[in-house]
């Protein structure tokens, strides 16, 4: 008998019915309750359409029209991992933790598979995620198989941790929904370098959700390099709760995938906390990238900085939506947001929607947006000094992106981002 593979929301719900007995936590009532509630929410909401304001510029039909199956992880010989970027590395293949590929010895704190630790995560898993508001998070909650679990104890400097997400080559489109939980206790620190990639000839959906809790004075640098395969989809959501005096420093580089949505919900929950959200989107023909940030200033004396840059070539489309919400208690808020786009092609399109919603009076908030082509005067200046046109363009694009990357203070993270950008540009110029 042939198995019918359903597409769209229906397909995932169908899969949930078939898989529920095998998903991790099937014997834990609270996990079952979470999954059931999420399934009900996803059944009601379905995949968001462009009629939903938050999805005005991103059409999910390429995802919702496709039929995805469970990933059949067959690792070929071609899974060659480059040297780790730091002391430790956690590797996930098709959303599942692979101990034999990971290097996590002597971390001095808990790093590992979420699925293995699930019985101890009641109250922590799902503490920040909002499946009722974000349908894709409901999808993740319904079907999560595994994820990275990190807890850095109070006062511990966690060093650099690399999170690698790989996708195996497959004939049939597959989907996976990892749930990553990161917690830094008071005064702890960590640099998390996340890199996601996949084969160029496989259709897949990577739908990760992060729940990040930063206790008093904790510092997390979170560098994300998205280099999914050109047929892949990544729809990721990050939730971060930042307590007093803590700092969350996120940089997201979108360079791969046919369609990517990078959604970040950060809450500055304690006084004097800080959030930096920076990013770059490098888009080629046929790609669509959407960065959507929602920053809640929910406590006084907090600061936030956002700089997002998008470079578009070919027939690509870039989207930036950024909302800063300043609650009434959040006096003396200092908020800044800038998003800029550089169009290298007449067929590219950029849509930008920065948004301020302010209910406190003693605030300094500003946002800016610019959209345009490479400056002709600047090009001329470089050409006049004997620099060939290609080289001149590359210098200007690099300078454009540099402003966003500069904000990343952690050197390992910055080096990783810089090399990823350089790699993209080399290919682009070729």
């Amino acid at each position: 008998m042939n198995t019918v593979v359903h597409s769209g929301a229906e397909g995932f719900l169908h899969r949930f019915e078939g898989l529920r007995a095998r998903l991790p936590g099937q014997r834990l009532d609270w996990v079952q309750a979470l999954r059931e509630a999420a399934a009900a929410q996803f059944r009601t909401a379905g995949f968001p359409t462009r009629r939903v304001e938050a999805w005005k510029y991103t059409d999910l039909r390429p995802v919702s029209d496709a039929a995805f199956d469970e990933a059949l992880t067959i690792l070929g010989d071609d899974v060659a991992l480059p040297a780790p970027r730091g002391e430790r590395r956690a590797v996930f293949v098709d959303g599942r933790f692979r101990a034999e590929l990971s290097q996590l010895d002597d971390a001095g704190f808990a790093i590992g598979s979420l699925a293995e630790q699930l019985p101890r995560l009641e109250g922590r898993l799902g503490a920040l995620a909002r499946p009722a508001e974000e349908p894709l998070v409901a999808l993740n909650t319904m079907l999560f198989e595994d994820g990275l679990l990190v807890t850095v104890p109070a006062g511990v400097a966690g060093g650099v941790l690399e999170l690698r997400s790989l996708t195996s080559r497959s004939e049939r489109p597959s989907a996976f929904h990892p749930r990553h939980l990161i917690r830094l206790e008071a005064g702890a620190s960590l640099t998390l370098i996340e890199e996601a990639s996949g084969p160029e000839d496989t259709r897949y959906l990577h739908n990760p959700v992060f729940e990040i809790e930063l206790a008093e004075g904790a510092v997390l640098t979170h560098a994300r390099i998205q280099r999914e395969g050109v047929k892949g989809f990544q729809l990721g959501t990050v939730y971060a709760r930042i307590e007093s005096g803590a700092t969350y420093d996120n940089f997201t580089l979108n360079a791969g995938a046919r369609l990517v949505r990078n959604e970040i919900h950060a809450v500055l929950a304690g006084p004097k906390s800080a959030c930096h959200m920076n990013g770059a989107q490098l888009l080629r023909d046929g790609q669509h990238a959407d960065t959507t940030t929602v920053l809640d200033h929910a406590a006084p004396d907090c600061a936030s900085r956002q700089t997002y840059k998008t470079v578009l070539s070919g027939k690509s489309r870039g989207v930036f939506q950024g909302k800063i919400h300043v609650h009434q208690v959040a006096q003396r808020t200092d908020g800044y947001q800038m998003n800029q786009a550089l169009l290298l092609s007449p067929d590219a399109e950029i849509d930008s929607k920065p948004q301020l919603e302010i209910y406190a009076d003693d605030v300094k908030c500003s946002h800016g947006a610019t959209v345009g082509a490479l400056d002709a005067d600047q090009l001329f200046y470089l050409r006049a000094r004997g620099i060939p046109e290609d080289k001149a363009r590359s210098i200007l694009v690099e300078a454009f992106l540099q402003e966003a990357i500069e904000g990343v203070t952690d050197e390992t993270a910055r080096a990783a981002l810089e090399s990823a950008v350089a790699g993209w540009w080399e290919k682009e110029a070729a």
């Binding site: 908030c365 946002h367 947006a369």
Partner: protein, 499 residues
């Protein structure tokens, strides 16, 4: 007061009124039965002796409206409006006014005094019966107001002057009779009847408004204002304005009044359409100061307006300037569709919300033609429990090579109970276009206040001074006589917000 009660009051005052004017023919019944259905639309059209095509047009709009949903996306809150529980045609609208200034709300008179309005004018603005019947006794009077309240002959002489240049300036119902070909050619071409919920409603039941046509190459010799128009004393609930500037024509049009007007319609759903052909320029200035409701947020006008301009011609230009201080809820986005190559759109706005006022306002600049440019300067001031939202769209179509936009949105917060929001949308599909957006939000700096106080200004005057400075870029775009009063108006609107 809820919409229904207020409308009933209006109708009652109309039916009991002794003064009938404005229509040349005697009419048996001067209001349509309550409710909104096809018969209401037919009634209005018949009352206005409209041609068949216009009735058809209205009926089509009505059919469209019935299928539409009231929009819920603006950041404003108000109780649901029952469209069936209201009168849609009540003419002529004359209220039972106070008999003398002694009966007028002293708060209103205080405001007039601060605006420096002479007693005679105060009486007229407050709607004192018989106050507008005799010519004014001279003295300083702003041009716009002068013309309203002066004798019929003055207005007629203006009309003669305009007619000499071939300018048509009349009520839209008059234009339907006198210039049907122009109305038919342009009506609903900028704001189609099905454009949005309120535009559809307006298209079905509009009863009044202005019509302006400036012929080729004519520069209108004076600022046109609704108040020049002799039969425009009471503005309708569903106004429809259509302004056409033919090739090379230039016109400046003023709407509104700096003094608070007595107006008892709660829902205003106007439509304004502007058409600029090759090399034409239209400047449209609005000062809106309708009743904002009391300090507790009771009553006040709902101002849901669709204003749009089409720069159809090459090198045409449309400039919107608005000072929005009144209304309980303001919801409007004066927009420019820049079709002609090298056409220019401008939007300058000051919006103040105090007490419980809510404003969701901004603009849309749609760039279609080559080298089109647009400028947006928006200043929002929130005080008391006011909520102020800038919502704007800049869209560059693939055809708009070399398009240019600059947007600046600044918000000022006075007090910790108010809100200021900015929601710009930028959509660019042309690589040679350049779009820039800047927005800031802040409060009045302590050191600025201290500096002013130290020089002997009261706190209220100091705030007024700072706010005027904050709004300067916009106020300077207003015609002179408006600008002076608008400055005072800003200060009055913010009264009680400090200290």
């Amino acid at each position: 007061m809820p919409a229904v009660a207020e409308t009933l009051d209006t109708v009652q005052s109309v039916t009991e009124g002794t003064y009938k004017w404005g229509f040349e023919t005697e009419i048996e019944m001067d209001f349509a039965p309550k409710g909104l259905n096809e018969d209401t639309v037919r009634f209005i059209s018949a009352e206005k002796k409209e041609p068949e095509w216009l009735l058809e047009w209205r009926l089509k709009a009505f059919a469209t409206w019935q299928k539409m949903q009231e929009p819920r996306w603006p950041a404003v809150k108000y109780p649901p409006i029952d469209y069936q529980d209201a009168y849609y045609y009540a003419a002529p609208k004359k209220k039972d006014g106070p008999k003398s200034l002694d009966e007028v709300d002293p708060e209103l008179l205080k405001t007039y005094a601060k605006l420096g309005i002479p007693l005679k004018e105060q009486a007229i603005l407050a709607g004192v019966e018989g106050a507008g019947d005799s010519p004014s006794e001279g003295g300083r009077m702003p041009i716009a107001v002068d013309a309203v309240f002066d004798s019929v002959s003055v207005a007629t002489s203006y009309k003669e002057r305009l007619a000499k240049d071939g300018i048509i300036f009349c009520a839209i119902s008059e234009a339907v009779q006198e210039h049907p070909e122009l109305v038919k050619q342009y009506l609903g071409t900028v704001v189609p009847p099905g454009d949005n919920f309120y535009a559809a409603l307006n298209s079905a039941v509009f009863t009044d408004g202005s019509f302006v046509y400036i012929p080729k190459g004519v520069r209108c010799p004076m600022e046109l204002s609704t108040y020049f128009r002799i039969n425009a004393k009471s503005t309708g609930q569903f106004e429809r304005t259509l302004i056409i500037a033919d090739e090379g024509a230039i016109v400046s049009y003023l709407e509104g009044c700096t003094a608070p007007m007595r107006d008892e319609n709660q829902l205003h759903a106007a439509v304004v359409e502007l058409v600029a052909l090759d090399d034409a320029q239209i400047k449209y200035s609005t000062v809106q100061n309708w009743y904002p409701g009391d300090a507790e947020g009771r009553g006040g006008i709902y101002n849901f307006v669709t204003k749009r301009a089409q720069c159809r011609g090459k090198r045409s230009k449309v400039s919107w300037t608005q000072v929005e201080t009144g209304s309980a809820i303001t919801w409007k986005y004066p927009s420019c569709v820049l079709l002609g190559d090298d056409s220019v759109g401008e939007f300058y706005s000051v919006a103040i919300t105090n007490n419980h006022q809510q404003a969701d306002t901004g603009t849309k600049m749609i760039h279609v033609g080559k080298r089109t440019t647009s400028t947006i300067v928006s200043k929002g001031i929130s005080a008391g429990k006011g909520q102020n939202t800038y919502r704007g769209l800049v869209r560059v179509a693939p055809t708009a090579s070399g398009a240019r936009n600059f947007t600046q949105c600044d918000s000022l917060l006075i007090g910790d109970q108010c809100g200021a929001h900015t929601v710009p949308y930028i959509e660019n599909r042309n690589m040679s276009a350049k779009v820039e957006h800047e927005a800031t939000t802040s409060r009045i700096a302590e050191d600025q206040l201290f500096y002013c106080r130290q020089r002997g200004l009261s706190e209220e005057d100091a705030v007024g001074l700072i706010v005027n400075g904050f709004c300067r870029e916009v106020l300077k775009e207003l015609p002179m006589e408006f600008a002076v009063e608008a400055q005072k108006l800003l200060q009055i609107s913010l009264e009680g917000s400090v200290g």
